[in-house]
Symmetry: C2
Subunit: 496 residues, 2 copies
């Protein structure tokens, strides 16, 4: 997405040049999506669906538009870090708007608000849906939904690895590649990196599709659910979500494992492919993530066993649904909100956690909890030993005040955004739990929220349009690590 750009500190790009670069990036994205749209067209044609020509028309128009936009001559463009915020946000907005079209002009012929909601939910890998009656839809739509989520998944990995660390958003500087710094170009590294990510992503997707098919899913279901599993995205072909496959422990286990796989840092897979297995075992973020999942699952499963649920059943469904929410996938095999008041509270908290950085998962991300823990440990130690000087490290990198400050700003902004969106939803007369869990779920890109309306067995279709627009904004901001979007509303951003 950003391959033409190099982030530099000083040389300023002129507005016209920036606009050209923006057009180039958006053009590339639209062309890419349009090519992807050929897949639903072929499927629709094979199945003689009535909307087959609509898909082809949109694809052709999209490819032409994309290529025209892309054909801008920009020379060797260098972007300032602050310009990248706008570029990134606009790219996602335009991509989501293009992705909206098939939902409007083909089945299920949604209105614009619903269609944009569905498209934004897809491309941000959120997975909240406004469509009731998925089981009856033509396969082409289901494929388009799945592909959007799959593309959104890889899009976010590329962004998290190639762009965000340079922008110093929310402590992500921690994951800046050692050999680079803010003033260098990241183009050569980026191209190779995107290729490597793509390879890993394809491989994992193929693997999960294969296993789903082996486990008894029909080929089409395996394909779509494979894509939305590895993208920790969560769209399903069925109103019952993954509950449609609840009879098969094998499928549930495969789903659980590959949701976790999608939430691990992809940089470690790339190293692993170079036979460098050690880092993935030693990575503190991965370790903390897995330990957290394990503990949470054991505790919740034991509570359920205590309440009389059968052991195997309890562990199977707890593991799946906990992993689904923590990795921000959003599948459900059953309505975990019905397990009890305690489970509502726990799953509400789990919505905030998220996976590892540089994965397809949303949420606050494990490393930020680890940094917060360092911060708290330092502060409590200082209360006990006021004169103590401490040097703290995270994965062999020194954790300084500036890094913590940036992490804290992210966390505060996260909570403020959730609070603001929740307030907005409550103004549309949604109840307390729906408002606050809906906001958290959207910002964390989980998908389902809690309660009867938009919980695991609910649907977003009944919400008023205003609430849908709020959630569209929340999904976008959450996906782009919030500050990338919110900074555009800062009064200094547009100065000079």
């Amino acid at each position: 997405m950003m391959q033409q750009a190099a982030v530099v500190q000083d040389n300023r790009l002129k507005p016209q040049q920036a606009a050209k670069l923006l057009s180039k990036a958006i053009g590339a994205l639209i062309a890419l999506l349009s090519v992807a749209l050929l897949a639903p067209f072929v499927l629709a044609a094979v199945n003689s669906e009535k909307d087959q020509w609509t898909y082809l028309t949109l694809a052709v128009i999209g490819i032409i538009t994309g290529l025209v936009l892309f054909s801008q001559k920009t020379g060797e463009a260098k972007l300032r870090a602050r310009q990248v915020f706008l570029l990134t946000t606009l790219c996602w907005v335009c991509a989501s708007l293009f992705a909206t079209l098939p939902f409007v002009f083909a089945q299920p012929y949604l209105g614009f608000t619903d269609a944009w909601f569905e498209a934004m939910s897809a491309i941000t890998t959120t997975g909240a849906t406004v469509i009731v009656g998925l089981d009856e839809l033509p396969k082409s739509v289901l494929l388009w939904r799945g592909m959007l989520q799959w593309l959104g998944g890889i899009g976010i990995i590329v962004m998290a690895m190639a762009i965000l660390p340079f922008l110093q958003v929310g402590g992500m500087r921690l994951f800046q590649a050692e050999s680079s710094d803010m003033s260098g170009k990241f183009l050569p590294r980026s191209s190779l990196m995107v290729m490597a990510i793509g390879k890993v992503y394809l491989l994992l997707t193929a693997l999960v599709i294969l296993l789903y098919a082996l486990g008894g899913m029909q080929t089409f279901d395996a394909f779509v659910h494979g894509m939305t599993t590895i993208g920790t995205a969560g769209f399903s072909n069925y109103d019952a979500s993954f509950g449609h496959f609840a009879d098969s422990p094998f499928l549930i286990v495969v789903g659980t494992i590959f949701m976790v796989a999608g939430a691990l840092p992809f940089v470690l897979y790339i190293r692993a492919m170079k036979k460098d297995i050690e880092p993935i075992m030693k990575d503190t973020q991965v370790r903390a993530f897995l330990i957290f999942l394990l503990l949470t699952i054991v505790i919740i499963a034991l509570i359920q066993v205590g309440k009389g649920r059968e052991w195997g059943d309890a562990f199977l469904h707890t593991a799946f649904n906990v992993v689904s929410v923590v990795t921000t996938t959003g599948y459900a095999t059953e309505d975990y909100g019905q397990w009890g008041n305690w489970s509502i509270m726990i799953f509400f908290y789990l919505m905030f956690v998220g996976g590892c950085t540089g994965s397809t998962a949303g949420g606050m991300k494990i490393f930020r909890f680890q940094l917060s823990q360092l911060l708290l440990r330092r502060q409590f130690s200082q209360l006990i030993h006021p004169n103590l000087v401490q040097v703290q490290t995270y994965q062999d990198r020194r954790v300084n005040d500036s890094l913590l400050g940036s992490m804290v700003a992210f966390c505060f902004t996260y909570f403020l955004l959730v609070a603001a969106i929740a307030l907005g939803l409550s103004l549309f007369n949604l109840d307390f739990m729906t408002s606050i869990s809906g906001a958290a779920s959207a910002v964390s890109n989980v998908g389902p929220a809690l309660g009867d309306i938009i919980g695991p067995s609910g649907n977003f279709s009944s919400l008023p349009d205003g609430a849908k627009f709020l959630l569209i904004f929340a999904m976008l901001a959450g996906r782009l690590e919030i500050m990338t979007v919110l900074i555009l509303f800062h009064r200094h951003y547009w100065r000079h």
Copy 2:
């Protein structure tokens, strides 16, 4: 409470000496409370209540016990900062336990859990009550509840001004008196300070009692409500809370004004009494507090007017109830949870705000929101101008990373405690809104929460004992700025 102590960095106090000092402090507190208990005795005797001799017995036993404990010879004791955490916490626990006795042995003859809940709620100025049928209770009990809150109120001001800044808890170092530093004694300043605070507190209390009486309250009601108003504490003599006086706009206005008065920094009153009026006008915390209140009231009142409520009525009741929650008083003239889903959300947020530091108010306190704003402003500016070096000040003091770190640690701990208590409450099968708002209300020392069970028109009596113990802990921790209590559970605290 801490007049015998001087905080020093190096000289270590031997355990026996520390224990003696602790016994002395607790003895003084118990003696003080016992003397206070003579007031309900006198009232009970005058009214020929059947429990009059119980009050006298408890008072005499308490005075003797207190004096015995107080009579320890400690020499010139010097406490380390870290010992003060334990001492402070134990003082509040013991005081609350002594205050529990009259609720057990006199009317309403509560069981221990309920009685301790009522006493802790009183002394921490929380104001959550387990007693149903306040209107029918003997006046002696009502007086005791009011006096406990009044004493708790002045206790917290003294603590916030004389102790907490030295402990560097949660950014409170910002309010350390200019002329002192961590290594110095604070005894001489403290004594004078306590006297001055006492004078202001008495004056304000007398004023509000007088105005309440002028406004038509019976003398006894004016007395008790005056004490619980200035202490931003919120116990009322009626099940309907301040709603009992809802017919009198004058009383509602007086209540509103003096709740605000109780939530202002008392150090500014002390200066004002020395004819130094300027600081109270120029104080950024006071200004932000008042502006925030005004904005919130106007917005909520306008929403209500928009929904058809009469102007005067809307502004009167909005002002009172908003001020009541923000100052963490907890009176209610009506159930603001019934105004709509939006009001539930807004009042939930308001529970966290709190008043100014160095007042009787609980909550997170205005200055922490201001510091957070500084932090966010700095971080966003850095994203836009990565090389910018910024020097930020708060009320002419430089805000450095260490101060912000300590403030952030407080905020994180605050949210974590609320989340943990809410989870605990949900495990006792309380619903989502009751659990989370109950936790927030207890930690912020507001009093009433939201919803049908423990909302403004509810009562804490129906909660299971386990939930009550959780809330007792939450009220205590919240009152002592959380870290003061939580640090005792840190594994390094008890080492060597």
